[in-house]
Each structure stands twice: as C-alpha cells, then as structure tokens.
Homo-oligomer: 335 residues x 2
Amino acid sequence: MDIKIVDVARLANVSPTTVSRVLNNNPIVKPKTRDAVLKVIEELKYVPHAAAKNLRQQKTMTIGVIVSDIKVSYNTDIVKGIQTKAYAQKYKVVICDTQNDLDIEREYLRLLMDRSVDGIILVASLLPEQEIVDLAERGFAVGIIGRRIDRANVLNVHTDNVSAAKEAVEHLIGQGHRDIVFLSGYANAKDSYDRLEGYIKALGMHSIPFRPELVENGNFNETGGYEAFARLKEKGLTFSAVFSANDEMALGVYEYCNEKKIGIPGEVAIVGVDNDRVSKYLTPSLSTIDQPKYDMGFLLAEKLIRSMNGEAEVPRVSVLNSRLIVRQSSTTYSR
Amino acid sequence: MDIKIVDVARLANVSPTTVSRVLNNNPIVKPKTRDAVLKVIEELKYVPHAAAKNLRQQKTMTIGVIVSDIKVSYNTDIVKGIQTKAYAQKYKVVICDTQNDLDIEREYLRLLMDRSVDGIILVASLLPEQEIVDLAERGFAVGIIGRRIDRANVLNVHTDNVSAAKEAVEHLIGQGHRDIVFLSGYANAKDSYDRLEGYIKALGMHSIPFRPELVENGNFNETGGYEAFARLKEKGLTFSAVFSANDEMALGVYEYCNEKKIGIPGEVAIVGVDNDRVSKYLTPSLSTIDQPKYDMGFLLAEKLIRSMNGEAEVPRVSVLNSRLIVRQSSTTYSR
DNA sequence: AAAGGTATTGAAAACGATTTCAGCTTCTGA
DNA sequence: TCAGAAGCTGAAATCGTTTTCAATACCTTT
C-alpha cells in the first residue's frame, strides 16, 4: 500500500521511466535492469495506481454493462459472453443493474460518461432509441443487445424476433390450436411489438383471423403473467394455447393453472421466449424460444472492443438466429 | 467529449477552482456565480474526468465484488443487497466472475489491488483464509460473505452452517428417516465441512450411528450431484433420504430419480441448501435452507463503507439466521 | 583511436481534476 | 472614514503514472 513508482525506482537504482518501461513490457530495457526492477517490484509488492495510469493514457480498459436485472438468466447469460471476450482482451467489466427502472438507467449512463469506462453495452435497455443515438453521436462507444438499432455508430446484435415468434405460433398451430393467446410485455417495448407481428403473421399464413381480444399485456414478469391470464379467463374467452413473450410471464400462467387445476398442455398449451433457467425444470417442461445469449454478448463485446481500438470496418449490426425448443408444455402427447 | 474544466471555466469567466467548487457543491460560492457555471456545464454537457478526480482524491467510490458465478442466484441475491446499499451511498459496484476457478479469483484480486476500487467483497470465495487475511493486513478494506473469518480486519457476514444443517437433518429424522445421505461440496470448502458437522451432530442427537459411506462428494454442481448419487445407488447402499449441501446438486439427484423412476419423496426424501430460484418450481418442490442473502450483502456493504470512511467501531463479524423451508420433497404426505 | 551507429537510460512535461493558501472585495461597527 | 472580519475567488501545487526527447554508454568499423 502506498508504494509508488519512485520508491521502486530508488531501490532499483533506476529512474521511474525505466520502471514504467518494465511494467509495460517495453523490450527496450536491458534484461539485467529489467530483472533487477522486477525483483524490487516483487519485494515491495508494488501495484501501479490505476487512476494515474488511466489519466495519462486516457483509457481505462473497462467496459460498462447496463442490464435490466442481474437476476434474470437472459441477462446473465449475455453478461457471461461479454465477460469472456472482455477478459480475454484484458478488459474489465462493470455491471450496473437498473431494476427495470428507466430513471435509474439514465442515472447509470450519466455515471459511466465520466470516462471510467471505455465503452458501454446496454442489455434489455428501456432507453428511447434517440438517447442511445445521441450517446453514440457524442463520441462514446456504445452497443446494444437484443433490440434492433441501426443508426449512427450504435453497435448492435439481435435476433429476428418476428420470425422467431412466427415459428413458435406456427408450432402451436401445427399442434392443432387455432385460438391462441398472445401475452405481450411492456406495450412500448420493441421486442413485444416484433413478437406480436410474428404472431399475427403466423395466424395469417394459416388463415386464422386475428382476434385482438386474445392479446393481453403482462409486463414481462411473473405476476404480470398471472394477472393477464386471469383477466383473459375471467372474460370467459375460449382459447387452447398461449404464446408468452417471455418465460417469466409463462411462470405466472403455470401458477394460475396450478391453482385452478387447468391442465398443461391438455387444456392450455404454452410456449414462452428466452429459455430461462427454470423453464426446463418445470412440470411440464416449458417449450420456449432460445436465443444464443452467450454468443450475442460475446459478439457485441468483440465489436465494441474492435471499435474502441479504432478499427474502421467493424460490422455495425449482426443478426443471430434463435431456435424453438419444443418441450412438454406444447405437445399433446404429454410425456 | 473532451471538454475539460478549463473550458467551462473560460466560458463562465471564472477559474477552474470555482468550477470545481460548483461541481462539488461547495456552499462557499456565490449563488450568482454558481448559476452561471452550472449553465455553462449544462450547455457544454461537461462531465468531470473520473481518473483525474480519483487520482487527486485517492479514492474511487467503487466497491469490487468477486463472485464465484454470476449465474447462481445465491450470488446474485447477495450482489443485489450489496448494490442497493452501495448505490444509496453513491458507490459504484464492479462485479468479477471467477467461474469457480481459484486462479482466476487470484487474478481478479491482483487487478483490484490497483486502487481502482476502495474496497473488496468476496462472495463464495475459494481463497485460502491466509491470503484474505494478508490482504487486510496490507491495508485494504476487505469483506467476505458466507464464510466465517474472524481475523485481522476482515469484515464478515455469515450464517451458522452447522446448526442450519443440523436443523435440516433433524427435520428428515423427524419424518422417520434414519439412513440419510450427505452430499457434500468441494471437500476443502469450509461450508461443506460445517454442514457435515451439523449432519453428524443431528445424527448424534438421535443416537443414529454415523455411516461414512453415506457421505459422497458432488462438487456443488448439478452433474456432480447426479454422479455422486449414481455412485451411491450403484454401490447398492440403502437409504431413504438425502441432505444435499446445496440445491444444485439436488437438481442432479432429481434428474437421476426421474430417469430411474425413483419417487421423491416416497422412495427418497431430499433437502437442499440455498433456496435457489428453481427449487420452488420443481416437482416436487424442493425443501431447502434459505439464507438471508440479500440482507447479508446489504449488511456487509454497510460494514465495508463505514470502515472505508474511517469509522472506528464497525462490528467486524455478524451472524445472521438461516431458516428451513419445508416443501414437498421432504414430506411424506406428498401434496 | 576516432567516427558513427545503436542500445539504453533519464529529466521533465503531460494527463485533468482538487486543494491549499493567499489575495481581493465587501461589509460591519465604531 | 477606517480597521478588521467575513465572503468569495484564483494561482499554483499536487496526485502517480506515461511519454517525449535528449543524453549517455557501448559497439563496430575504419
């Protein structure tokens, strides 16, 4: 503690400059001096002061990640991918958890703008597109995962929500269902909107009329899903399947069905989105759309790092494929 | 981007000193000047440079958290508690994920010793006690959660693993079980050892002889649990219940039982530890020991911040209570 | 042995904020 | 009207590195 480069220099009979060179593996220093310096560093347990280094070099080698909720496996899978890539390139990672609160998200963004990070990644962001674009236009390295943004220098990795939703709904139709509920998330979320579009497309492909009363908002969380499903049931609507815009809301549906002794998939078949960690442990196991979350994180981190390093031709947006995982909750011959 | 305090100063016709004072809410500046400066700051969208500030102040207002795996809800629950306290006190939080690898953990520790954080919190650490003590003795603010360490200035919050395990096993005994398997984690983990001790104590209290062959190591993860349980079964041992040192290994047991059509809790009753997010969604739901994870994180963060602020009398170690949650996996009258 | 390179090293400036200390105003009271 | 205090502001030092540029040491060649 409190040992500085000059202390090392003095003890090793060299200048701070030389110590700095040793620290940064500058091959110009004579092997003999290098060894002497290293020995002193070891002896004193000297560790360079990050702030001084950052100030001089005008970079921090860290990436800031803003996620909606660190407890959601969709987010942590992505974060894992980011971390793996980042660490491999000697970057550190700061994680900020906004608790799905837009104001908190804005606040973190402000915090990160003090150059304590070299670049920012948004995961499941609630921020209006324009604010993200502004950020990029002010010269910050910014990337966003999950949501499609193709403007300014905003880096982006996402999956095709429309066709994924379409695939899920067509799967349900293939199982003989025609009255299919769509449980949407926040009304303003682009994800929700795209999944709705896919839902409608799938119905269209099979000439099933779209019934707006079968679309209900569950706010992307478990209780929201429970309540949305309850509303549908209490309205006395008839339907035999549910496509839920994420797995968490599906959990709410499970709970409701459990209470009211409604059989899954017998009376209601269900397909979710996200392949949450719990979904395969449910009984019946939950069919869901799996996004390559880890890969998405890894890929965006790569883009970001390359772009921070000044590489000119970094492809700005990439689309990865998601896939439908069919489990018990949507297949008639249960187990 | 690239706007410095002098730019603001120039435009506001004041010195950098005054701008700095405004930034730091120093009440000494005249309201009129303050407003003028604030206006320029707003106009220029000036954000102070973190590294410069950190360097001068010799602190960063951030806490480093090293966790074993960001995907484990035990860890994220704790992290949530830490974050809540930290953010309330204007601290940022850096999370490092070691993937349960001791070498990676050491590497992160080295990274964080560059004063890029003001204090360090270890969650589910694999580090030998002595190394943690060394850290504290070198003057760093360090805290550890989950594992009892009562030396040097190491801050600590943990629960009583021995009595928690004892409670779980006594619950099983109360359900009529006498041949109870103990699934342990890493052999060297203090947690495992304490839980084993509680297991043995519980047996002792009820005059049930301890059979070492009923203790098997599952490395704290799902496949480890599966394999450990398989080994026990293949040895042809007889037992009617399992106490698993964490929920993840219990998942492995569920899987094995599912494959081999072994009824839970009819043929094997199970109790785990951690109250993992999935445990309540399992069929049958998993009985488990719940630790007040959020509170543990919150409390340790509080200790750490107080100690970093130079408060002398911060109680160094706290013990919180865990509680047994009885669900279906350990009760004979299933459902 | 001198000239000209090349290798190796160090002195000092720079990064962008905060903080110390001194100085200038302005006010108060006699 | 003036001394002294209080209020407000700014010049310059400082934090601990890296980087630039110049200087020195050491070779090689002739």
